[in-house]
């Protein structure tokens, strides 16, 4: 094992995360308590779900800016299906997940079928899906869901917030798929050289469509959890989510040019951001100061990582 493998980005990030946790714990004795940490897990689930699938998207050299809008659209649709169409809530959720996945699939479709660069395609659907959410909802929010529904966003299972189980499950599945299966291999191959992947008989378009659909699904799942957590739907839900998710992914070492990235890295990136938000707040730093620090940490982490990889081929 050579020193470069040891000093991969993820290792550096892990060291930084531990460092941050130690420093933050020293700042406030309320930080490193199981209760607080689990609660933070609850708060980061929506971004986390989206970021984990975004890792795949970015690893193929793409990007999905429409996730926040899909979240908003699905949230609205669940409300509308349930309240205005009178469907049972379970069916409304199911249908919402289907529509969200289709929204992601549509992204994949215009990207693969028409060759529109992902950034542009999803920039357009960012506006489109948000607009649909606003139009469909006519600015009305839907409230008063049955109690069982809140278990998802506000309840616990075995002392751990319900959604954290989901996040954990999705993270583990995603890590396996990306790291250990032939689908993961295809993802990396497409991100490194799409043409060569196509010439090797990899079904590039299909893989990409599946990944964008999965991204839509993740955003929809996040929508369900979000609605359950805040007990209401609004058409502006999830605004700006895409940038938070992308921050976590690139902080985790996924190359924005594609071909490189891991789920572990993304999870570490998520933990880093959430720990900073929470720990700094507990240490008495205000929200705007925290944002400044997160920005600086993002740049510095990648900078440090780059220093170690100076002559590697990153």
């Amino acid at each position: 094992m050579n020193w470069k493998a040891i000093l991969r980005h993820e290792t550096i990030l892990a060291i930084l995360v531990v460092l941050a946790l130690v420093v933050l714990a020293a700042q406030s004795d309320r930080f490193f308590t199981p209760e607080n940490l689990l609660n933070q897990g609850r708060l980061m689930t929506e971004v986390g779900l989206v970021a984990i699938i975004m890792t795949f998207v970015i690893a193929t050299g793409g990007i999905d800016l429409s996730v926040g809008s899909i979240l908003g659209l699905v949230a609205i649709l669940i409300g509308v299906f349930w309240q205005n169409l009178g469907l049972p809530l379970e069916a409304a959720i199911g249908l919402g997940l289907v529509v969200g996945t289709l929204a992601g699939l549509f992204n994949g479709f215009i990207i693969t079928r028409f060759g529109v660069p992902p950034l542009i395609a999803t920039l357009a659907t960012l506006a489109l899906y948000r607009g649909l959410a606003e139009g469909i909802s006519e600015a009305r929010s839907v409230r008063g869901y049955p109690d069982w529904f809140y278990v998802l966003g506000q309840g616990q299972v075995l002392g751990v917030p319900t959604q954290l189980w989901i996040l954990g499950l999705v993270a583990i599945l995603a890590a396996i798929v990306l790291g250990l299966t032939s689908w993961g291999r295809a993802t990396y191959a497409i991100g490194s050289n799409e043409t060569a992947a196509r010439f090797s008989g990899i079904r590039v378009d299909r893989v990409k469509m599946a990944i964008y659909a999965a991204s839509g699904f993740a955003a929809s799942l996040a929508a369900v959890i979000f609605v359950s957590r805040v007990s209401t739907t609004r058409s502006d839900m999830g605004t700006g989510l895409e940038l938070d998710a992308i921050t976590a992914v690139v902080l985790g070492g996924t190359s924005i040019f594609g071909g490189r990235g891991t789920i572990i890295g993304t999870v570490l990136g998520l933990i880093m951001v959430q720990a900073l938000k929470n720990g700094l707040s507990l240490a008495g730093v205000r929200g705007d100061g925290t944002i400044v620090l997160i920005g600086a940490v993002l740049i510095l982490t990648i900078l440090i990582s780059n220093l170690f990889h100076r002559d590697g081929n990153r």
């Binding site: 406030s28 609660n39 606003e134 929010s141 409230r143 058409s235």
Partner: protein, 346 residues
């Protein structure tokens, strides 16, 4: 074409046209209570103020009022809000402050329902919770300081418009977004009151302009261009939209032809009022609002304001009335005109 007249389905309650105060039906206290709150009477309180967002003039003014009161009341207050009017960021922030163990939370909700669970958690943790400006579900906080009742704003706005454009004038509205609860309620009440009291007034259009001053300016301009002489007045529903609309009217050379009324702070409106392009602006004093909120929080923490009370003492503001069970009313909306605007600086 469908004219937007407030987005929600909640019932409206227009005031009488001649101004006879509505008969307030007394209500039982419907707020929440902190569980096992320690005795905080006379203690130094650590309080956090979480407005809808930071970075806009309005909430800078409420903060100012809170700080003023905090100095009088032995409170350490900090303001910390999201940088975007975003329900999730606001919830996360409050959550962190619950963990850090504050004594009291002041909030202005981005969404009444979304914020409720976290506020309930605060109450459970024995924290005193008081809202201002934008309410949450009643049981998720103890008290809410209401700057002006929705129907009061609706009446003041429409009355001002009628006075300037006549009872058969035509007007349009520039608001932030249709999803903003306060604006939606105000617009609903305006529509109800106008239908009741000035049935001949014409409501042309409502446009969205977010909290974006250039967009507000453009939207107001477009309204002027679209309706030409037909347009007699523009109502601005936010402290961003109103001055922008006034600027649009000024730059279009339509001062005197198109009236601008709306919610706005006096500093922002001063140039237009002094130039006699705008006659009036409607608002409560946001500094007073913050000030009152801090006093209510102190009183709730000290146990001097309890469910069932009908008024509360608020420093330089004197006695404030309790309405609707668990709301403290700041007073009637205030109308700034050329005569009094020089007296205010916020």
């Amino acid at each position: 074409q469908q004219v937007y007249t407030g987005g929600d389905d909640l019932p409206t309650n227009p005031l009488a046209c001649d101004g006879t105060p509505g008969t307030a039906t007394p209500m039982d206290y419907d707020g929440g209570t902190p569980t096992n709150a320690p005795d905080r009477a006379g203690q130094t309180l650590t309080v956090v103020d979480v407005p809808k967002l930071v970075g806009i003039g309005y909430f800078a003014a409420t903060t100012q009022g809170i700080m003023e009161a905090a100095a009088e009341l032995n409170m350490n207050a900090t303001t910390d809000g999201p940088t975007r009017a975003n329900i999730d960021d606001q919830i996360t922030l409050i959550d962190n402050y619950i963990t850090s163990g504050v004594d009291g939370i002041l909030f202005a909700a981005n969404d009444p329902v979304a914020i409720a669970p976290v506020l309930r958690r605060a109450l459970e943790a024995g924290i005193n919770v008081v809202g201002y400006d934008a309410n949450s579900e009643p049981d998720a906080r103890q008290w809410f300081v209401n700057q002006a009742e929705f129907n009061g704003i609706g009446k003041a706005m429409i009355d001002q418009l009628a006075a300037e454009i006549g009872e058969d004038g035509a007007f349009a509205i520039v608001t932030s977004t249709f999803t903003t609860p306060n604006q939606a309620r105000w617009i609903s009440e305006m529509a109800a009151y106008q239908a009741e009291c000035y049935p001949n007034m014409r409501w042309l259009e409502t446009v969205e302009a977010q909290e974006d001053n250039i967009l507000s300016f453009n939207q107001a301009n477009t309204l002027i261009n679209k309706y030409g002489d037909e347009l007699d007045g523009i109502a601005g529903m936010t402290s961003v939209a109103t001055p922008a609309a006034a600027d649009a009217v000024t730059q279009a050379g339509q001062c005197g032809n198109i009236a601008v009324v709306g919610l706005a702070t006096p500093n922002a409106m001063r140039p237009y009022i002094e130039a006699d392009c705008v006659k009036s602006a409607v608002l409560w004093n946001p500094i007073d609002l913050g000030y009152a909120a801090a006093y209510v929080l102190r009183a709730a923490a000290d146990g001097t304001l309890n469910p069932g009370d009908t008024s509360v003492e608020a420093g330089r503001l004197g006695e404030l009335q309790v309405i609707n069970g668990s709301e403290v009313l700041l007073g009637a909306p205030f109308v700034f005109t050329a005569d009094n605007i020089a007296d205010f600086d916020f």
